[in-house]
Symmetry: C2
DNA sequence: CTGTATCCTTAAAGATACTG
DNA sequence: CAGTATCTTTAAGGATACAG
């Protein structure tokens, strides 16, 4: 979207993820796919976006290995790949946040397991132990650039609240 | 971003969440805030975006109750509110996905607890029990519109794999 | 039904100069 | 330092007609 800055150059996995599914439609398409939507027309009806935009997004998602495109060339079925399904936690975490902090009249959709039990809210844990926000620490990883490294070191010095 | 369609009309908590933090920069700003970034100039240096854009995003995030703006009017400190911190799971889930499926040379940043233990990968659970992708079900919730309800019912009939 | 091709409008983002 | 004001560029998205 008027993307002058290439997010992928930001040395960050979040930016990497956003550069793939960070636009307005991609995650909603994945959500639909998770629901069971498979056809071009169904996505279109569900999301109400223009044909060319949907075509572009589907092409991109297939190219990025998030969707598969199978069946007759003229009437293909789209489905989530393993990589695409792996987006489920991020997607549902975002939904949970929306449920709790944005939706006014109760959640429009409740996500459950096959027995009807609601999906547990995602929480921060490490080694099985529950974490508070103030326990979070950011360390340089294997792919860390020098400037990011000094940046992290600088930030790590700051006192953390809560 | 050329947002012709108002996402908030899509009866979905995901769309609701995306209409607030679904643009290219907002989540990255929240990430920086999570890291400890507090000042206008620091955000600017870290993200490399234009002044006016940053000002706009900060204003929006404050208006949406995600960031607080405190301290001297001329040199304010920005910090995450409770609502803002609540984005951490979604944000980290997205980072984890990026780490696993996008980053090439190892994660640039590793998130740990104060003891240095890595944050556990987010997984689907219900009632404490681990779930597979195929166990997910979507049910109409309290705020569900009639058309969404029929749509969900239609999709629920489909066979689910994996 | 599933796209492609084309045109058009809008607005998001960048750059820069300026102000308190 | 933390913005605001203004200008320009560019691209994303919508609409529609058409094709396989």
């Amino acid at each position: 979207m008027a993307e002058k800055t290439d997010l992928s150059r930001l040395n960050c996995s979040l930016a990497g993820a956003l550069s793939i599914v960070g636009d307005w439609w991609s995650l909603l398409i994945v959500r639909d796919a998770l629901l069971g939507v498979q056809r071009f027309g169904e996505f279109r009806q569900s999301l109400g976006l223009a044909r060319n935009i949907l075509a572009d997004r589907l092409r991109r998602l297939v190219a990025d290995g998030i969707l598969s495109r199978e069946g007759p060339e003229q009437r293909p079925l789209y489905g989530l790949t393993v990589k695409g399904r792996a987006l489920a936690p991020a997607l549902l975490a975002l939904m949970q946040w929306g449920d709790q902090w944005v939706s006014k009249e109760g959640p429009p959709v409740v996500v459950t397991d096959s027995g009807g039990r609601e999906i547990d809210p995602f929480t921060l844990q490490a080694g099985g132990r529950q974490l508070g926000y103030g326990d979070l620490r950011f360390q340089p990883g294997a792919g860390c650039q020098p400037d990011t490294r000094t940046f992290l070191a600088e930030m790590a010095k700051r006192p953390r609240d809560a």
